[in-house]
Amino acid sequence: MIDFYHVTKRFDRYSVALQDVSLHADKGEFVFLTGPSGAGKSTILKLILRQLLPTEGQIVVNGRNLATLKRSQLPMFRREIGMVFQDFKLIERMTVFENLSFVMTVLGVPPRDHKKKAYAVLRAVNLHHRLNAYPPQLSGGEQQRVAIARALINDPFLIIADEPTGNLDPDLSADVMQIFIEANLRGSTVLLATHDRELIRRTGRRVIYLEKGRLGEERAQQPAELPETPSTFMQWGSL
């Protein structure tokens, strides 16, 4: 699913973001990417999205070598990936529904399907009652759930999240993590960058540790606190 082969990323002679990193994530896996600030977590995510190209090494995502991906192929490639940011990146002048509809429009989803899909995905993150609210009217946790709903709207095979709980308190973080876990149970591979050790401990998934651009020790955590009952998210898949 995701393979890094001896990837090095230098921005200039003195600024090395990643140094000889090789990593692998299987299809359907949930992987944490952690390490201190400046360790190279965001660089890895940007490389996967092909916002950056490696200075050395090869990256293969879902069977595609990103070095050979043409500029014209990038949109189709990115449509298969759901991206979640620490600062949500919602469009504040648009309602929750419009934020989702906007993405569906640019993805070419027929307009007649927008409402149905938006409602379904918002119900999955338990925000279907806030369809017409504007982002500033929502709490941080709600905004992040909308952002996740937006990432999920196109049934991505891969979800990558950059510090998605960075602006949230522990309770809201748990809610958000629950949504990622459920998406993972539905089959999406999840790669989540965070430096929240408590979150990693509570979630209990494989961890890739980065420090100063180099790969540290990988630790497999025990799965913990998986959902015990099928949630609304599971029901969404049947729509």
């Binding site: 993405v103 640019v106 993805l107 017409n132």
Partner: protein, 310 residues
């Protein structure tokens, strides 16, 4: 199960149009600057075209490229008229002629210069002399034997003047061409300036929307989808500028028409403002605005490619 959202979702083209119109409205002040620039450029061009087209039309109406007019004295006797007719008949090059009596000249003037008809009503008598309109096979103004012939015609008893009509016709045509050229150059320069104004407005809009553009790229929007609304915004600005220019030009045309009440103004009206520019020219002006808008916005959006993955 239906979602109760306020607005109807849009397809890609609907999204382009909706966004372009919305941004025109949200940034109406900057948009108005761009639209105003386009309107000024096209109105300048349109004004020159209006005048030159009317000039050409007037010249066409008095078509005399191969004609001379032999004016007799107002009190020419039938014998003098016959003498002039005999001279013309004798010369094969001048033998195609028409006699225009004083009454016919009066009627012709009233027909062609309707605005000046009241002036004629104020006169006690018919001011027009009788004349011969001579059609020539070709223009021979620089031909010495022909000049000699004209000089002989001038010496015929009762002939007051011989006007070589094609001289002023060609001068008027030259003026019309120069006016068109000046209009094209001035309008073209202003249109390029207007296009760059639109480019800057679009650049500013793209800067304000950079976060949305980033989001669109990350969710997999194609460059065409990202750039479409901005291109359309420029096209709309150009089109609005073009429509405004034609509307203002028409207002100017009607204004001149309303002001042209005195005889002196009427003559100016007759020459320069007899008819509004034909609709294909008006459409071409609007099309010019659209082209300038497209060019301006295209300059900006082509700069806004996603930075090459470094």
């Amino acid at each position: 199960m239906t979602a109760d959202s306020g607005e109807r979702p849009l397809g890609v083209f609907g999204y382009f149009v909706h966004e372009a119109v919305r941004r025109l409205w949200v940034y109406k002040r900057t948009s108005m600057v761009a639209i105003g620039m386009i309107a000024i450029a096209l109105m300048t061009l349109g004004s020159f075209l209006l005048i030159s087209e009317n000039l050409n039309r007037a010249v066409d109406r008095w078509q005399g490229q191969s004609q001379i007019t032999v004016f007799l004295t107002r009190d020419a006797t039938p014998a003098q008229i016959d003498a002039a007719r005999s001279f013309l008949t004798r010369e094969p090059e001048l033998s195609k002629f028409t006699f225009v009596s004083r009454e016919a000249a009066y009627a012709k003037f009233r027909k062609h210069f309707t605005q000046l008809a009241p002036v004629l009503d104020d006169l006690d008598q018919n001011p027009f002399p009788p004349s011969f309109e001579v059609q020539l096979d070709e223009v021979k103004v620089n031909d010495p034997p022909f000049a000699k012939l004209v000089a002989g015609l001038r010496r015929v008893d009762g002939v007051d003047d011989v006007q070589l009509d094609w001289q002023w016709v060609s001068r008027l045509r030259r003026i019309a061409s120069v006016l068109s050229l000046v209009g094209l150059i001035a309008g073209g320069v202003l249109a390029v300036a207007a296009a760059f104004t639109i480019a800057n407005v679009i650049r500013l809009t793209m800067f304000l929307y950079r976060e949305e553009i980033d989001i669109m790229r990350l969710v997999g929007a194609t460059e065409a989808t990202i750039r479409g609304p901005f291109l359309l915004e420029g096209i709309f600005q150009g089109m609005c500028g073009g429509v405004l220019a034609v509307a203002l030009l028409y207002g100017l045309f009607r204004g001149v028409h309303a002001l042209a009440t005195g005889p002196a103004s009427a003559l100016l009206w007759e020459f320069l403002f007899s008819e509004f520019i034909p609709w294909p020219t008006a459409l071409a002006l609007i099309g010019g605005g659209v082209a300038a808008g497209f060019f301006g916005s295209w300059i900006s959006v082509r700069e806004a490619r996603e930075e090459k993955a470094g």
